[in-house]
Symmetry: C2
Subunit: 233 residues, 2 copies
């Protein structure tokens, strides 16, 4: 971005960890199957009704994956950063759409690939498939975690846990203080942790007044990570 030239698609793919260790010939093959796109902040990547036949590789920026309930309410499943893969990962046989919605939170750069191409790639590259399995497994773990949080933790703890996780995933450390550019509104945090917007607002303010965090509309700083961790249990 800023000033420096934008790296080529090939560069991105090569440094995308799932492809790491792949020989150049295969990489070229991958390159030919995929195409690169930029998406501006707040723009959707796909809609829930589209039976997504595409796999996405997130190069830059952040993406919000959500799902709509029948009555139109939104539930945020996850927020992904650079290096993540998303789309119809499970290849769930039936072409039914997952009902998922993806939206850029940032100015975002993605590579896309046809699902069937990726699929056949997987069939010929056991290592790749193996990597993918691992990743989906890890995501599964995270959801197990979340379910368990929903059951046992009250809203304050869930919000603290969210902050900790978000900091770990996307934060940058500068001398003991963690800075996070926040792309989520209180409303969105609420949808993510399962709470009302007002509760999120007041809980965050409570944390701020206790000196644990600070925040503005641009982002957060975590001032006492360890305290937050304590609160999240």
């Amino acid at each position: 971005m800023s000033g420096t030239e934008r790296p080529s698609k090939f560069w991105y793919l090569k440094h995308f960890n799932i492809f790491e260790g792949m020989d150049d010939a295969s990489m070229k093959q991958v390159n030919d199957m995929s195409s690169m796109t930029s998406v501006r902040s707040q723009q959707p990547l796909y809609f829930p009704d589209q039976p997504t036949q595409t796999i996405f590789f997130l190069k830059e920026g952040h993406v919000k994956i959500s799902r709509l309930t029948e009555d139109g309410k939104e539930m945020i499943l996850d927020v992904l950063g650079p290096g993540e893969i998303f789309g119809e990962l499970s290849f769930s046989g039936s072409g039914e759409s997952s009902g998922e919605l993806a939206q850029a939170l940032d100015d975002t750069v993605i590579c896309t690939m046809k699902k069937e191409d990726f699929e056949s790639l997987l069939r010929t590259k056991p290592e790749l498939n193996f990597e993918l399995t691992k990743r989906i497994g890890l995501r599964l773990r995270r959801f197990e975690e979340r379910v368990s949080e929903m059951v046992f933790k009250d809203v304050r703890k869930r919000i603290a846990a969210f902050l900790v996780r978000y900091a770990e995933d996307f934060g940058k450390i500068k001398g003991g203080i963690i800075t996070i550019r926040m792309h989520l509104s209180h409303q969105e945090i609420a949808l993510l942790v399962g709470a009302a917007r007002q509760t999120v607002t007041s809980t965050l303010n409570e944390f701020r007044s206790k000196g644990l965090i600070d925040f503005s509309r641009q982002g957060f700083t975590i001032k006492q990570l360890s305290e937050l961790q304590k609160l999240s249990r």
Copy 2:
């Protein structure tokens, strides 16, 4: 699965044998790597602290997968039936244990295989790996579903949804009425849907008095599936 109704995603899972279509030579190989065990009802298959180096194939019976929180509370992640695979499926690199606990709800027959054996099998059999990916993907979906339920649905709806799902997964149909041998106590159902035991008891009684279901300690019968489905939304 009443007529036009689409079978649950899980239904596919259940009825798809992961080894199906494998040639005899490979099957023999698989057979040699694995061993068969019986486990009596209520007995544990593995404990949370054991870094499970084993993959389990459930042949008969039912297994409860749960996780313990730091303070010793139990959270039930899933109940699995015949045909399911479980264990350290994600191969999450680090040998850290998942904190999971597996317990037989039935008299149960399982096959076990060393994780590394299964792993190398996967590397040589792309199709198998591909199938596994699919399955984990479906399981991921299920958890997404559950998180979303926890957020949007009240306890009554969640219990109704639980009954419907349980019926689809494990029920047997006899002339319009679905019978399920229930291996879970009210307490366990409570842990599964995220509610207090008392609430489960009284909600089930409410459903019974409305003629939707009937139950004793041995099991359930679903008398009006469609009504239950309606209640679960």
